[in-house]
């Protein structure tokens, strides 16, 4: 085990959580024969501190986010991000331009086969298309 890793483990055992930018000061008290470790994070702005602090305890309360976006809106956004026009997507999927337009405007729902073809054309997972 490397000494850096050992030191890190020792700090963890002592309950000292270090973040990038923190300064660690070591004070040696001769009489009591013990070390005093002081973490100085005063050089961080409150913005930086908040981000680093939240990130450090990410393991526990994180929730998977499911955006409230309809299939039509998803399809439009993903198609535009892929740089495809409605006609180009129609050619790639074999689904008519009108049908794709109706799906994008949420005027009609798409079947599994159509969604599968669209996902393949956009090179994405089919689950991204459905809410």
């Amino acid at each position: 085990m490397k000494s850096g890793k050992l030191f890190e483990d020792a700090l963890k055992k002592a309950g000292i959580d270090l973040h990038p930018g923190d300064e660690l000061k070591v004070k040696v008290k001769k009489k009591g024969k013990h070390l005093e470790l002081v973490v100085d994070n005063s050089n961080l702005s409150s913005f930086e501190y908040e981000i680093l602090e939240r990130s450090s305890r990410v393991e526990s309360p994180v929730k998977l986010y499911r955006p409230n976006v309809s299939t039509g809106e998803r399809l439009r956004a993903l198609r535009k991000a892929a740089g495809l026009s409605l006609s180009a997507l129609a050619t790639r999927t074999g689904v008519s331009k009108g049908s794709l337009g109706s799906i994008e405007n949420d005027e009609r729902s798409a079947g599994l086969t159509v969604l599968k073809r669209i996902a393949e054309a956009l090179k994405i997972d089919i689950s991204v298309l459905v809410n």
């Binding site: 930086e48 981000i51 309360p61 994180v62 993903l78 991000a81």
Partner: protein
């Protein structure tokens, strides 16, 4: 292709709840795109890698004022740490 997953820390959830509706919409749109194509999007989406003490974090602009600070974790996971409006009034001009 395996989709990306977007997670929110509890504080970011609260921040999103309090954000204006157009920001929520824009955030949802960003999440959909990220699920499909990952965090490094082309086009009008500006994904910026943060520097200095915040190295390893990324920022995306939802509009001129609002930005999302996130982290990329292994196996296609994105952790949204902050959804924040930049206070331009408090920043002094050079």
């Amino acid at each position: 292709m395996q989709p990306w997953s977007v997670f929110l820390v509890s504080e970011a959830e609260d921040e999103l709840e309090e954000a204006p509706p157009q920001i929520k919409r824009k955030f949802d749109q960003w999440v959909v795109l990220v699920q499909g194509y990952g965090p490094w999007l082309k086009g009008g989406w500006r994904t910026e890698a943060l520097q200095g003490t915040l190295k390893g974090f990324y920022s995306i602009r939802l509009n001129r004022q609002w930005r999302v600070i996130f982290e990329v974790r292994p196996v296609r996971n994105i952790i949204v740490i902050r959804i924040v409006a930049h206070d331009y009034k408090s920043t002094s001009r050079r």
